[in-house]
C-alpha cells in the first residue's frame, strides 16, 4: 500500500539497522515519547534489530495511561447520572477507576457511547435536546484541535446541552519532568510525530539546549523509528544536542497554525496531574474563560475528587522510562488486560499492554538486553 509499505520494507530496515550498528560505540538509552511509537516498536520488533548497546525505554505519550484516576471517577459519576449521554473514545471505557469502569456504567444502564470524533457529540446533542451530552476530552496536543473545535462550534451554534470533561496534557513539560528527575536515564528522545504535526517543534529547542539532550521528531512506521534512532545516535556519538526532524513528510517547524490558534482560543495552560506520575506544573489544558460554561466538572459539580492508586502498580515508573513493563512483579499475573491494575495495561498505546500482547512469553527471547 502506498505510503505504508515503503516504510515497512525489510531490506531498508536491515540496512538502517546495520548503519546504526556501525555508528554505535557505547551504550545509549533513548525514549520514544509516544505510545503509538511504542506499539509499533514492539509489534514490528524494531528493537530486535538494534545493536545491544541501544536501549529503548517507553515514554508517557499514552493519553489513556496518564489520565488521572480521579478524572475517571468523575467520568463515571457523570455518566451514571440520568439524562446524560456520555461520549468517549473507545479506549477510555475499559480504564479502571477507583471502583469500576465506564463499561460497567453502560452495563448498569448508563448511556455511554463510543464516538470517533468529538464533533459527532454535537450531532448527538442536537438530536437529544432534552439530554446532557458530555464528551471525555482526553489526549495530548494531537487531539486538542478537534476537541477545541467541538467546543468552539458548540459555542458558535448555541448548543447548550453539550459539555466536555477535559484532561488534556502537554508533552514538553512531561519531558522536562523526566529530564529533571534524579532517576532519569534518558539520553535522547524520539519526539512524537503527530504532536509535532500540530505544535511544530520550536518548544523543544530550549529543552535540547538546557538539558543537552538530542530530540528527533519521529514518525510511527518501522523505518521512521529506525531513522529516528539513527539520527539520535548520530547526535549522541558526535556530542551534539539539537532538535532534528525525521518526520518531514508531516511536520513543519512552526506546526499547524490554524490548529494552534484554535487550541489557544478555547484552552489555557494549567497544572495537571498525571496518573502514576503526579502533578506537573503547566502541563495541561483547561477551558479558557470564555468557554468555561462548557466545563462538565462545573456543570455536574464533580470538582474536588481525589483517589489513590493501587500500590502494586508501577505504571508511573514505566511512563517515566525508569522501569520496563516486564520488570513489574504484577505484570502478567495479577495485572492483565482483562484485570488491569493501571491504565498502561489497558490502552492500545500502553507499554504494558504492548508487552503483554506481543512478548510476554520467554519463548520469544528479547529479554537479553532489558536488564
Amino acid at each position: 500500500m502506498k505510503y505504508i509499505d515503503e516504510y515497512r520494507d525489510p531490506q531498508a530496515a536491515s540496512q538502517y539497522a546495520q548503519a546504526i550498528a556501525r555508528l554505535t560505540t557505547r551504550p545509549w538509552t533513548l525514549m520514544e515519547v509516544c505510545g503509538g511509537q511504542t506499539h509499533a516498536i514492539i509489534k514490528f520488533g524494531v528493537d530486535e534489530l538494534l545493536p545491544k548497546e541501544i536501549t529503548l525505554v517507553h515514554g508517557p505519550g499514552c493519553p489513556v495511561c496518564v489520565t488521572p484516576l480521579e478524572l475517571i471517577d468523575k467520568a463515571i459519576t457523570i455518566a451514571s447520572r440520568p439524562g446524560v449521554i456520555f461520549c468517549s473514545f473507545g479506549d477510555m471505557l475499559r480504564v479502571p477507576g477507583s471502583e469500576k469502569d465506564l463499561f460497567m456504567v453502560k452495563a448498569a444502564g448508563g448511556d455511554v457511547r463510543i464516538v470517533y470524533s468529538p464533533l459527532d457529540c454535537l450531532k448527538i446533542a442536537r438530536e437529544n435536546p432534552d439530554k446532557q451530552v458530555v464528551f471525555f476530552a482526553v489526549g495530548f496536543e494531537t487531539t486538542a484541535p478537534a476537541n477545541a473545535m467541538a467546543v468552539y462550534q458548540a459555542s458558535q451554534q448555541g448548543i447548550t446541552n453539550f459539555s466536555v470533561l477535559v484532561s488534556h496534557v502537554l508533552v514538553p513539560p512531561a519531558m522536562e519532568a523526566i529530564l529533571s528527575s534524579t532517576h532519569n536515564r534518558v539520553q535522547g528522545f524520539l519526539a512524537a510525530g503527530h504532536v509535532c504535526t500540530v505544535m511544530g517543534y520550536t518548544e523543544y529547542e530550549p529543552i535540547a539546549v538546557k538539558y543537552r539532550v538530542p530530540i528527533v521528531v519521529t514518525g510511527f512506521e518501522p523505518l521512521d523509528i529506525l531513522q529516528g534512532v539513527y539520527m539520535c545516535i548520530r547526535q549522541l556519538e558526535e556530542g551534539r544536542a539539537e532538535v532534528e526532524n525525521q518526520y518531514t513528510r508531516m511536520v513543519r517547524r512552526e506546526g499547524n497554525d490554524p490548529a494552534r490558534k484554535l487550541i489557544s482560543e478555547v484552552f489555557q495552560i494549567t497544572h495537571r496531574k498525571w496518573r502514576g506520575v503526579g502533578e506537573i506544573p503547566q502541563s495541561g489544558l483547561a477551558l479558557s474563560e470564555p468557554y468555561r460554561q462548557f466545563d462538565a466538572e462545573m456543570r455536574f459539580g464533580v470538582e474536588g475528587y481525589t483517589a489513590e492508586e493501587s500500590s502494586d502498580c508501577i505504571s508511573g515508573l514505566v511512563l517515566q522510562g525508569i522501569k520496563k513493563p516486564n520488570e513489574c512483579p504484577a505484570f502478567g499475573n495479577i495485572c492483565t488486560p482483562e484485570h488491569p491494575l493501571g491504565a498502561t495495561m489497558v490502552s492500545n498505546e500502553g507499554a504494558c499492554a504492548a508487552y503483554y500482547r506481543y512478548r510476554r512469553f520467554p519463548a520469544v527471547s528479547v529479554s537479553t538486553r532489558e536488564a
Partner: protein, 351 residues
C-alpha cells in the same frame, strides 16, 4: 443487495395488510398462522417443513453427525455483500463444514421486534432462502416470537444445523501435527470493516463488501479429494489470530505464521490504518484455515484456489514441533513476535 431488491420486485410481500410486524404475529393466533403460512412456509418450502409439525422427523443414515447452533444479532441488518439472513444461514452452514460435515438441515428461530417493517422481514427471509439453496441445505423447522417495541433491535435470528460426517477423518484442533501447512482461503477483514463502515457511515474510496459466503463446498472438496485434513476453522469473531491461538492451545504446538504471506485487500488495510484495527483480529464470514500435511499442501491449495470463494487462498504458516501453546508471527521487517487473543471487544455485534 441489488439482486435481493430484484427478487423483492419479482416476489411481492405476501402479507399486504400489515406493513409492520405486530405483537400478535408472535401470539399463536391467526396473525402468526398467517405469517408462517404465507411468508415463511412457502419461502422455505420442502417436504419436511410442509408437514407443519412441532418438529421435523427424518432419517439419518450416517454413522456420525455434526450439530451446531449460532445466534445472529448483527447491526445493521443489511450491509454491502450480505445481510442478517444470508449470515444466519452461511454462518451455521460454515460451522458444520468446519466439522467436516455435509450440511443437511437447519432450524431457524426468529425474534422479531414489534414494528419491524414487513418488507424488511420479507427481504431477510428471501435472502435466507437463497443462501440455503446455494448450500443445498433444507430449513426444516422454526419458531417465531415477537417482543415489544424497544425490547429488541429489529430482528434476531438463531439457526441450528445438522450435517452428515461421511468420512473417517478426525477434524479437530487436537489432530494438528508438527509440519502441517496452514492454508488460508482468502483475504482477511472485509466483513468486520464493512459492518464498521456501514454502522458508522464511514465511506472509503471504494465500497468494501463483506466476504460472507458458504464454505461447505470448499471444505468438502478437500476431504473428498483425499486430503488428510487435520483441522478446519472459520475465521469469524476474533479473526485469524484468535482461531490460531485456540488451535495452538488445544494442540499444544507452537504455530508460526508469516505476516508477509497474509492477504489483506488494500482498501481494508487502509481502513485498518485509519481506524487502528489489526486485520488479524477482524471478523470474516467467508474465510477459513485448513491444517493439512505438508506433502499434500500444494494439492490442497490448488483445490481451494479453483473454487470461486477461494481464489485468493494461500499458505500462511506451519505447525512446529515445539510443544508450547503459542502463536508467533514473523513481522514484515523480519522480527518475531507473539500473536495473542484480543482482550475485550474490538467491534461489537458484527454477526
Amino acid at each position: 443487495m441489488d439482486s435481493v431488491n430484484d427478487l423483492t420486485l419479482q416476489c411481492p410481500i405476501p402479507i399486504q395488510q400489515y406493513p409492520q410486524v405486530m405483537l400478535a404475529h408472535g401470539g399463536g393466533g391467526k396473525l402468526m398462522h398467517q405469517l408462517i403460512e404465507r411468508m415463511i412456509g412457502p419461502a422455505f418450502h420442502n417436504s419436511l417443513l410442509d408437514v407443519r409439525h412441532d418438529g421435523a422427523v427424518f432419517d439419518m443414515p450416517h454413522n456420525r453427525l455434526a450439530f451446531t447452533t449460532d445466534s445472529y444479532v448483527v447491526n445493521p441488518l443489511f450491509f454491502p455483500g450480505g445481510d442478517i439472513g444470508s449470515l444466519a444461514v452461511n454462518g451455521t452452514v460454515n460451522d458444520l463444514a468446519m466439522c467436516g460435515a455435509r450440511p443437511l438441515y437447519l432450524s431457524a428461530g426468529f425474534i422479531l421486534e414489534e414494528g419491524l417493517p414487513m418488507e424488511t422481514l420479507w427481504r431477510i427471509v428471501q435472502s435466507m432462502r437463497r443462501a440455503a439453496d446455494e448450500s443445498g441445505v433444507l430449513l426444516v423447522t422454526g419458531d417465531t416470537k415477537v417482543v415489544d417495541k424497544g425490547k429488541g433491535d429489529g430482528i434476531f435470528i438463531n439457526t441450528a444445523g445438522v450435517g452428515a460426517v461421511e468420512h473417517s477423518l478426525s477434524i479437530a484442533p487436537a489432530s494438528v501435527l508438527p509440519g502441517d501447512a496452514i492454508l488460508l482461503s482468502g483475504d482477511l477483514g472485509r466483513h468486520g470493516i464493512t459492518i464498521m463502515a456501514t454502522r458508522e457511515n464511514l465511506s472509503f474510496e471504494s465500497e468494501i463488501e463483506s466476504d460472507c459466503a458458504p464454505l461447505a463446498a470448499m471444505a468438502l472438496g478437500l476431504i473428498n479429494a483425499g486430503i488428510d485434513v487435520h483441522c478446519l476453522r472459520d475465521l469469524t469473531r476474533g479473526g485469524l489470530a484468535s482461531a490460531l491461538v485456540e488451535i495452538s492451545e488445544a494442540a499444544n504446538y507452537l504455530i508460526n505464521i508469516f505476516e508477509n504471506s497474509i492477504p489483506v485487500r488494500e482498501d481494508v488495510r487502509g481502513a485498518c490504518e485509519i481506524l487502528g484495527f489489526d486485520p488479524l483480529y477482524l471478523a470474516n464470514e467467508g474465510r477459513f484455515i485448513a491444517f493439512v500435511p505438508e506433502a499434500q499442501a500444494d494439492d490442497a491449495l490448488a483445490l481451494l484456489t479453483a473454487h470461486l470463494n477461494g481464489t485468493g487462498a494461500c499458505r500462511i504458516g506451519t505447525v512446529t514441533d515445539d510443544r508450547q501453546p503459542l502463536v508467533t508471527l514473523k513481522s514484515r521487517i523480519g522480527a518475531t513476535r507473539i500473536v495473542d487473543m484480543f482482550s475485550g471487544e474490538q467491534l461489537p455485534r458484527i454477526c
